[in-house]
């Protein structure tokens, strides 16, 4: 899963330690999420969304959906029109 955590953190001039403290996790966990080595649980993703005042999908997104998402959306549209 890809995420914009590093960008959002940099925009606010926060250190990884500060973000970790705000999310109630270790700095190692923030680093692992930012580098894509670890995918957060849904509760942690919600906490991040609340902290940055964004929707979850504005922070985290599935790379597979980037490629197939448009096709999938078209198929769903077709199905609903039938």
């Amino acid at each position: 899963m890809k995420n914009r955590l590093k960008v959002l953190r940099a925009e606010r001039n926060w250190t990884q330690a500060q973000l970790a403290d705000a999310l109630d996790v270790s700095r190692q966990t923030v680093n692992a999420i930012e580098t894509g080595k670890f995918d957060p649980s849904l509760p942690l993703a919600f906490r991040a969304a609340r902290l940055f005042d964004l929707h979850i999908e504005e922070i985290f997104h599935d790379p597979a959906l980037d490629q197939d998402g448009s096709n999938l959306a078209t198929e769903i549209k077709k199905d609903t029109h039938v």
Binding site: E11, R12, N13, W14, Q18, L19, A20, D21, A22, D24, V25, S26, Q28, T29, N31, A32, K37, F38, P40, S41, L44, L51
Partner: protein, 140 residues
């Protein structure tokens, strides 16, 4: 650009407190085990009542150590808990698969030392330590 500081809640200080608590419980358990193992021979000349009392003390402190360990694991964040559980799974696996070959090697005098429970505890402790360090390094 928003430069406000995020709210703080002290995950690190909470974990530090738990680690210190765990350290004291581990130390107390090691001391109680040592007393239970050496006391009958060197301190009270195998007096049954004192031996039974130290066994009871060792078990009680052991339960305290388990509870402190449980509290520590439950308060870890999800990544740290994953690393801890992976290390634990590897340790249990190594302990399980190493025991029968060790006892066979001991029974047929292939190894020149006695494969007792202490050896297994040392093996499992080292496995846990290495697995934990590897997991921490992997997600650093």
């Amino acid at each position: 650009m928003n430069q406000r500081k995020p709210p703080e809640n002290g995950y690190q200080s909470r974990i530090r407190t738990n680690v210190i608590r765990l350290f004291y419980w581990n130390g107390a358990w090691a001391a109680a085990t040592l007393l239970m193992a050496l006391g009958p021979k060197f301190l009270w000349n195998k007096a049954l009542v004192l031996t039974l009392l130290t066994i009871g003390l060792d078990l009680a402190v052991g339960v305290g150590m388990i509870l402190a360990n449980k509290k520590y694991v439950m308060e870890l964040d999800e990544l740290q808990r994953k690393v801890f559980l992976n290390a634990l799974a590897i340790t249990v696996g190594v302990g399980l698969i190493a025991s029968p070959p060790l006892s066979v090697l001991d029974a047929y005098h292939v190894i020149h030392f006695h494969a007792n429970l202490g050896l297994l505890i040392i093996l499992m402790s080292l496995t846990f330590l290495v697995s934990l360090l590897y997991g921490t390094w992997r997600y650093r």
